[in-house]
Symmetry: C2
Subunit: 92 residues, 2 copies
């Protein structure tokens, strides 16, 4: 199931690439990297954005983007991004 | 200045280790990893928590932790965690 869920997440992630990067290393440093983030945290945050429980700052952008996601979409996205390798902080 | 700011961040980070890990890889997967995150995003998020602009979910915990931080503390913490290497997502 993980294989199928991973590719579903990869497909859904196309919607996130503009702000968070192809594999979750954000092209804009005001945005968070998602690569290597904890899947459980990503599920929690995406659900909080979708359901309007996380407010303030950029939440309104994320709320719009997450509004159409089902729980299984969110799980697939979390699996995809958490499976990527985080940014090597020793590089600038 | 970076050297001094980095060690100041490392010192301040002692306060964060319980939830976010020694080098920003969270020991609890409900918590976000900070290692390799973008410094600018970390400054934005920490300031939003401190100033109460980010609400909902776990914000109340972060607001309490960030309440005593000055802007330069926040910059030092952001430098420290963003300089770490993010989690290798290909490992479980």
């Amino acid at each position: 199931a993980d294989e199928a869920e991973y590719s579903r997440g990869q497909q859904l992630a196309q919607q996130c690439l503009g702000c968070h990067g192809e594999t979750g290393i954000a092209p804009v440093t005001t945005n968070p990297n998602l690569a290597g983030q904890n899947a459980e945290y990503l599920r929690y945050a995406l659900t909080a954005y979708r359901d309007g429980n996380r407010k303030g700052g950029m939440a309104f952008i994320m709320q719009a983007n997450a509004s159409s996601l089902s729980d299984s979409d969110i799980a697939a996205l979390a699996l995809y991004f958490s499976s990527q390798t985080g940014r090597d902080g020793s590089q600038p």
